[in-house]
Symmetry: C2
Subunit: 344 residues, 2 copies
Amino acid sequence: MTVTVAVDAMGGDHGPQVTVPATLAFLEATPGARAILVGLPDPLAQALARARSKASDRVSVHACTEVVAMNEPPADALRRKKDSSLRVAINLVKEGQAQACVSAGNTGALMAIARFVLKTLPGIDRPAIASQLPTRTGVTTALDLGANVNCTPEQLVQFAVMGSALVTAVDGIERPTVGLLNIGEEDIKGNDVVKQAAELLKASPLNFFGNVEGDDLYKGTTDVVVCDGFVGNVALKASEGLVVMLYDFLRAEFTRNPLRRVAAAAAWPALLAFKKRVDPRRYNGATLVGLKGVVVKSHGGADALGFQHALVKAHAEVVNGVLDKIAHEVAAMPAPVPAPAAAE
Amino acid sequence: MTVTVAVDAMGGDHGPQVTVPATLAFLEATPGARAILVGLPDPLAQALARARSKASDRVSVHACTEVVAMNEPPADALRRKKDSSLRVAINLVKEGQAQACVSAGNTGALMAIARFVLKTLPGIDRPAIASQLPTRTGVTTALDLGANVNCTPEQLVQFAVMGSALVTAVDGIERPTVGLLNIGEEDIKGNDVVKQAAELLKASPLNFFGNVEGDDLYKGTTDVVVCDGFVGNVALKASEGLVVMLYDFLRAEFTRNPLRRVAAAAAWPALLAFKKRVDPRRYNGATLVGLKGVVVKSHGGADALGFQHALVKAHAEVVNGVLDKIAHEVAAMPAPVPAPAAAE
């Protein structure tokens, strides 16, 4: 099976400067894969001219005339920019010319356009953003990380179903454990939405662990952690900010004086190994689950290595048949998950 | 002015084993301060017998007959345990025998009992939990960190007023900047509560910066960050979990083989300085703001150094007249902050 990935080459803080070399590096490491770079012809041609790759015969260019700005309101991007690199890349998935789309662009616009063009799977109200976080024992898949700010209990259950299916398909874990993010382990804790979601999850065929707390995200207590997009987004960004701060402090301490610099040289292998282990680029690539198509969002500020990881993730999801597995799991839920009257 | 701190000596995971030596160390470092240890006579006497301190003449014991368990439902603790160490310590503040109370016990019970016994300041619906987080440039005071899971926009404004007054009183910052925790900087982002709170904050005399995101907590973008207790609690605990994981990874890399252990010895001063800089014990002690009394909550698992920091915080708040300043700021709000019909 040849997998073709449509790349929104204009998205992100750096555009083709990052997306083009990352795509070529991905293709070199993934024999048989193909990529379609979607973007404005001139910057794309320039970036391609600078890059020399033996994989260049597996990349093609699809020209477009518009770009969605990083801070553009999603509704505007959806209504007005019909020929944006972001939208055309998603169209290629819809038309079957590509099996997955990767973008480092405007998250809100990506979600809105993907939902409009690809539609959600039957039984799913709204897609969610899922991502893997490193833990003390492996990884945890957390969702939603920012797509839905007001979730119903039923939507949280849908996230749990999708997250479980994603983990089963990609990581090969049968019946992954599911935790519900809360502010205490006891049933009495939390708000009404979380309490009702816990009841629904207990009654579901999922492998529901129970409530988990913020620190369980990094303890690896469960394979999947479910939360609403507001909470998930804040937790994710707080973590990113904390890692940056800790790196800064570590760097400051190891460069404080000449003696410390010597120590840093001695400690370099350990520090490098540490840094590599928690390198956010290794975890780059959030999946928009619940759509009739594979869409992966890269961090806007990702460099080529980070963007390459997002491409690898999209490719793996296609190869592992994630879409079919999620659709199957959603359909297999005993009582069809009810569509709430007013989701947001 | 002699400040007397009432100590719930039975609270926390370790009880008098931690609270007694911590109290004595606090008194030794704080000339003139006094403490009342509230607890069961036997374990208290044992812990005091083990400790020898030249400050022991400034500590007295107040016997009680009950202890609130760490996992006890707050309503039960409030209704049934009238002679618990936690409640008696708060009573001492109410009666004026102490000017502040410190407990490492059950957070929900502490909040419920403190609110029942001490009452909230005029204009404040519900107290909030405020704590300082380290940032790249100093500290940020964040609230609410877990007391209120469903907040109205008006409550978020009250948190902002209290947080501002706290920072002014303790850190001496006039007109501290206030950020509203959200999932994007743009006005259109977030849920309805946050959007309405932003409008109220813009119209208020506070130094409102605007929306901030999770990573701003550690960037030190604003002096105060306001959020509902669910989001704040998850962000705080996720941060705690992440720090523990990163320490683990760092330790693992520096002990991986004999060569790495030698490197660790060379790097020790830098690693120690790093660890000290982000030592959670230095930031231990969350303030229950909005009450007619100073109440500080220590982390349940805190050791003696951590608990001592909570005592120092309580003492500083009394010395700096935090209560009066918060009451003054709340009263000075031009339009009285309306009390919502149903808070929780």
